[in-house]
Symmetry: C2
Subunit: 454 residues, 2 copies
């Protein structure tokens, strides 16, 4: 066996010092979020009561291409960044494809996913502005775990509302948050009015992300020096995630190749945008031909089958109105095991890019995603998160096409996280207990009808 270069790392001094703000380069800027009462464009200060002020400014910043990463955040990045860029020789051999497959391995973060990239930034800005407590919601718990640790790093107390069904069914992620010292509450809870109201009507309600968001926002509003944080969808979260693509750009250069296509799984858009945007800069500014493929679950197909319009970011309708591809904020996705992809809408930047055909989207069925995950695990030794399995499945589809055509295309995908806390899902897949979920056009249309008046 000849010696082959497998992994590419950056020296610590090469870790990027700026995040990339694609909004500044976009020829068609995203439409503004609107105040739902007045339908006026939102200003940063409208969001100050809820988010750290710097995050509100980043959210709406359409002018500064590069945002400096604060020193203390960059110091923390050094504990796990650069993450490796890996040439997936094992997967290439398993598929017998001439394609060159690379993946950026975000699963090596101490938290096990890319979520920490933004959690550290959000916790830092909160601390800088005198905040003492942060709140958030979490479903499966990836984001909650990242925020719990980031809060600890910057000396903040964290309160996490975890969707009750996950709190009970995925106890390990709850334990991780508690080990980091966070207060974790099953949502709906009696600790907020929103929770109490729901429990009064339905004492056995198993919770939803929408309810958990309401509880976390309410707690942030009612508590002095307390802010709310969010793990995806918003533009400032994706901004922080561009560290992934900025590193990958340098690492691909070390490998002497440039991707023909870049693939990320898609929930709210932060890991997809994180890896793609720094490359997309060259498409926007220099006309470089690269495909950007968002892989979403077939059971929650906002990009492939949703509609571009103003909608709420949460089920309860507490957020500003966001211009996005959506299935309707009251869309209830099937209980697929990729919990992180069960979200009704796409972030405003990605929505505009899809509208402008700068990117494309594919939908992946649950069984295909787990089949891809198992193949990847056996070939590369890493058990991928069920969310990341969607990106892998899309990469495999493309690599098979290369085999048919004989082309050695360069495929780059983001391995957003590992699946070690999701083994119960793999168990079910291996036992043949998982199913695909299909939505009829009627299902989708009916749900979209309900938000027509917004």
């Amino acid at each position: 066996m000849s010696e082959r270069k497998k992994r590419y790392f950056l020296a610590e001094e090469e870790i990027p010092r700026y995040w990339y703000n694609i909004q500044a380069d976009m020829k068609t800027k995203p439409m503004p979020p609107l105040n739902p009462a007045t339908h006026q464009p939102l200003k940063p200060e409208d969001m100050y009561p809820i988010f750290a002020e710097e995050l509100c400014r980043q959210e709406l910043n359409q002018t500064d291409t590069w945002i400096e990463i604060p020193g203390p955040v960059r110091e923390m990045y050094k504990y796990y960044r650069s993450t490796p860029l890996v040439r997936a020789y094992g997967l290439e051999e398993a598929l017998d494809t001439p394609a060159h497959i690379y993946f950026k391995n975000e699963s090596v973060s101490p938290i096990g996913s890319h979520k920490l990239n933004s959690a550290l930034a959000q916790a830092y800005y909160c601390k800088q502005e005198g905040v003492t407590n942060v709140t958030t919601e979490t479903g499966a718990g990836q984001w909650g775990a990242a925020l719990s640790y980031a809060a600890k790093v910057f000396g903040l107390e964290a309160a996490v509302y975890q969707v009750k069904i996950s709190y009970e069914q995925k106890p390990y992620r709850r334990s991780i948050m508690q080990t980091f010292g966070a207060q974790v509450t099953a949502s709906p809870s009696m600790s907020t009015r929103a929770g109490k109201d729901i429990l009064t009507v339905n004492p056995n309600y198993q919770g939803s992300l929408g309810t958990a968001i309401s509880e976390a926002i309410e707690l942030a509003r009612m508590t002095p020096n307390c802010k709310y944080t969010l793990g995806s969808v918003l533009s400032h979260v994706t901004l922080h995630q561009t560290i992934i693509g900025l590193e990958a750009e340098k690492q691909m250069e070390m490998a002497g190749e440039y991707p023909d296509m870049i693939i990320g799984c898609f929930g709210g858009g932060s890991n997809f945008g994180g890896i793609c945007f720094p490359f997309m800069r060259h498409t926007i500014l220099e006309g470089r031909k690269t495909r950007y493929i968002a892989a979403e679950p077939a059971s929650c197909p906002k990009l492939t089958r949703g509609k571009f319009q103003y909608d709420f970011g949460d089920e309860a309708g507490y957020t500003p109105l966001l211009p996005m591809f959506t299935l309707g904020h009251n869309f209830a996705p099937a209980h697929i095991h990729a919990g992180g992809l069960r979200y009704h809408g796409a972030g405003v930047i990605v929505s505009q890019l899809l509208k402008d055909k700068l990117m494309e989207a594919v939908d992946i069925q649950q069984l295909e995603s787990f089949e891809a995950g198992c193949l990847f695990a056996r070939a590369e030794g890493i058990i991928p998160a069920p969310e990341s399995c969607h990106a892998i499945a899309s990469a495999i589809r493309e690599a098979k096409l290369c085999k048919e055509s004989g082309e050695s295309k360069v495929i780059l995908f983001n391995l957003s996280g590992h699946g070690l806390i999701d083994m119960a899902s793999y168990d079910k897949y291996l036992a043949g207990d998982l199913v695909n979920y299909s939505l009829t056009d009627e299902d989708i249309q009916k749900n979209l009808e309900e938000i027509k008046g917004i």
Copy 2:
């Protein structure tokens, strides 16, 4: 915050090309393993029916200081090695100690622990010698997971006997093995005579490592082209693990420091020997003063309270007689959550080194180990395996002594694995449901009496 170097990596070409065989350098060589029937020193060929031949030769090799790492094994190492050497600034700050604390992070292996370093080597040699199937036993499942993946890499089929109580209580590790394509059987099983015999007498027996070993050996013996593999204790396993210390040596040089003490948790000795032996070379050959500290659980104190004598390596007495510090091969350790440290004896090399006072040992109670693990998690963001918590606890003790004395000693410990599959144990600790286990001198003496005649 000033910029500080956090992590040290080696370039791929710097990854060691040889394992270090400390037996060649030891002034007092380990005493030979004995054939239990004849009490004659074991020859490599006596073990050929069970292990790959090259492994048998490595086991008893007392002459070659450096053993070349086969190309294909080194190619696989590149997927996760070098592992980072990390300066634990967070832990230093949490302890307010002048000590400089470093840890070698083996938890970043795809399998989550150092076990893969030997699994890849063992699977490779089996493949080279025409073996098609490998067997092993596993308790908590760290070794079983590593072997399952390594077998897949080299195109072997793996059959793992997992202690029944773990198979049922820790289903995630079983799922990991199955995801890698291994056949996992709860032991005792009806698939072997050893298993059948036990089940006939006691249908509800929850299994033990000893029984699982017997089943795995029996399957290897009864199956053509099938060999048995082991994850610790034996000298060839520790040989493969010296990759840890060889890398750490170069990385400490990059950091411009040399450890005053090196700490590893201790089960059979492979992770401890792996990190220590390459440094100990300088103590043996050049008289360099470095402390080597094995951290064992107080509930299984073979090094601190056991006896040096010939004993069997397994409960059933199927193995050769090994000269080692032991609590007796029929010692039943308490059900602490650091399953990987629940072994009655120490490897023959480490036993000789302890006898010769080249190293020292400390015992750590369960509650202290988890307290250390939680402190580490909050300070460094990584949830350590319950086994690794013992090394961390010992490092914390030493760092606190430095605070008292005002000395800036350099402490290096091995983070052998992460604890993401052990969150149920952390749950119990955080809920106050874990206890310490104490052994009276009488308990220990009584058990040692039983093996007096060996």
